[in-house]
Amino acid sequence: MNAPGPSRAAGSRLTDESFVAMCDAALRRTYGLAGYLLGDATEAEDATQDAMDRAWRARGSLRDPAAFEGWLDRIVANVCRDRMRRRKLARMVDLETGPEHEAADPFRAFLDRDALGHALDALTPEQRIAVVLRFWRDLPLEEIATRLDWPLGTVESRLHHALAVMRVRLERDVGAELRETIQ
């Protein structure tokens, strides 16, 4: 592995101490992104730890400290994408579905309030990443494209299809209630 030196991230002006401080400052945001991508607090913790570990090991590849946020988002999105894909393909057991767990899981409780969570679950990982970055993180399309290294047209396409899927799913699940809510 191309591990950088212990005290200075190779090729950047960031010291390890500065890098750690930036990661610490970004931890809550990173955990939130993972939480909305995965819809589960426990799994989000795992993914956040995984992403932070990968970021630490890859810190030498961060050339511009100003790009840290987008750089870290890409790692988080990639870690979560991998988890989502494997989870769906492997049909992992829904670990905790009882009301007690839902109450303790802020992400699940929020997403399941009105079937939004089910609508997000119907998306592909890429579609969900696009939706969460656009509507939870409130990033413009161009920033999402830059952050994930996706062509702008791809971001637009994924969002377009994601919204279509979500509308169908939400209308099917909650129907008139949703229309009343939105209107």
Partner: protein, 459 residues
């Protein structure tokens, strides 16, 4: 409701989402993961199986599991397989002839054969009771017995529910559970399992979290298959698999979370230490008659790659090491050859949805790369697709997350579906994946048990 109104609602709804504080556990784990020099600190996941950590993962590849999803879907929903428009629209791979085939099987670089999938139904031949909520991510086969992971609590992340995780032995002739194996206290998960020389080994976790410095979060257990007696308990040890006459393990460190250090060889019958070999890779696979070390590239880069090392199990000598562009799945024997699926490399990882391919691995590198399977699911559908190697065959699996799932076997001479296809056509699939063993699929059923399906493998 028009598009603008919907987007506005979504922005408001999601934008109001909470941003919870990370737990002290998470903060502690993140801090513990930073080591001088960028040392590796891989830890077992608390919520996902260690796909790339177990030696037998090559046999329990993802699509094998996903294939069972399709099969189980067909089974559980009681559908008669039939061809759906969705299959040709989304499930059939669109092959971009970017591969460079060099040897057998004889793939066409520009396959033009039309997919001629013929619907064949998977038939349920037995249902196994006595294994509650079987967890499909690990199992072992020995002689005429299948060993599976069960969970009495149906709540693997909870250590308070009665029962916890345990192993069950299923007679493959009678399809009956003939024995169960439990540790003396409640085990939250069973992560990895192997059977060797009349002994059952599994490792698992206890409790819901391990903060740095904790001990015994993960333990390795040895049971005598015949008597059911628990004869060895090793804390802070992770099972990697059994091969070459040994059970292989690694020590856990860093608060019993990170696997590090050499591969240790244990006597499969007694657990006595038989030596160790140096091992510097992230994960282990025992497949295709060899010991492999697998390390994925760092995830900050778009240049995903997998470093593969073939290792002499006698002394740890690296016999060959090479890099595969993309992320390599589980290695798997197909006849006398060794194959794996690969997720794309480079920018494709981000710009293409899934353009998986197959590679044939030789003793010192990739001998053959298949054409890519364009599994792009951005056409408006919500299909999950993947390719993988399982049960000595090549598979394409599509699952639209609720209303339909298909499994197709691919002909390696054309890389087109061969005509063997299973499909579910109703919603509400609740089963868990399981395994393909011989000519049978074993899948969890909606009653919390196991169903055995006979598979018409087709041409």
């Amino acid at each position: 409701m028009n598009d603008t109104e919907f987007e506005g609602w979504l922005a408001s709804r999601l934008g109001d989402g909470p941003s919870p504080e990370p737990s002290p556990r998470l903060v502690a784990l993140v801090h513990a993961g930073r080591r001088p020099g960028g040392a590796l600190t891989r830890k077992p996941s608390l919520t996902m199986p260690g796909w790339f950590t177990a030696g037998r993962r090559g046999f329990a590849g993802l699509v094998g599991l996903a294939a069972c999803v399709a099969l189980a879907g067909a089974l559980l929903l009681g559908i008669s397989a039939k061809t759906s428009p969705n299959v040709s629209a989304s499930g059939r791979p669109s092959i971009s002839p970017t591969g460079t085939p060099t040897a057998s099987p004889r793939p066409s670089t520009s396959p033009t054969a039309a997919a001629t999938a013929t619907a064949l139904a998977a038939t349920v031949v037995a249902r196994v009771t006595g294994c509650q909520n079987p967890l499909g991510w690990d199992y072992a086969v020995s002689g005429n017995d299948l060993f599976v992971v069960c969970d009495a609590s149906n709540s693997p992340s909870s250590n308070t529910a009665p029962g916890g995780a345990y192993a069950a032995r299923v007679d493959l002739t009678t399809n009956k559970v003939t024995a169960t194996y439990r540790y003396k206290t409640i085990m939250t998960y069973i992560e990895d399992m192997t059977v060797d020389d009349g002994s059952l080994w599994f490792d698992g976790t206890f409790g819901s979290a391990c903060v740095p410095g904790c001990s015994g979060f993960r333990r390795l257990e040895l049971f005598d298959v015949a008597t059911g007696k628990n004869t060895l308990d090793l804390p802070n040890v992770e099972l990697e698999g059994s091969a070459f006459g040994y059970v292989w393990v690694r020590n856990l460190s860093g608060g019993a979370m990170a696997t590090e250090g050499p591969l240790r060889k244990l006597d499969p019958k007694t657990g006595q230490d038989r030596g160790s070999i140096s091992f510097k890779m992230d994960s282990v696979q025992f497949a295709c008659g060899s010991l492999w070390g697998i390390t994925r590239s760092n995830w900050a880069s778009a240049d995903a790659s997998t470093t593969v090392a073939r290792i002499d199990p006698a002394d740890g000598t690296v016999l060959a090491q090479f890099t595969v562009p993309g992320w390599l799945g589980g290695l798997q024997s197909v006849g006398s050859e060794c194959w794996a699926s690969v997720e794309p490399a480079g920018a494709d990882l981000y710009t293409a949805d899934y353009a998986d391919l197959f590679v044939r691995i030789g003793e010192s590198g990739v001998e053959y790369t298949s054409p890519r399977f364009d599994l792009n699911d951005d056409a408006g559908g919500t299909w999950w697709t993947a390719v993988d190697v399982q049960g000595g065959a090549f598979w394409l699996v599509s699952d639209d997350l609720g209303s339909s799932a298909t499994l197709q076997r691919l002909d390696p001479s054309t890389w087109q579906p061969t005509g063997t296809l299973w499909q579910s056509g109703a919603s509400g699939y609740q089963g868990d994946p399981f395994a393909i063993i011989g000519r049978s699929a074993w899948a969890c059923d909606d009653a919390g048990g196991i169903a055995r399906l006979d598979i018409p493998l087709g041409p």
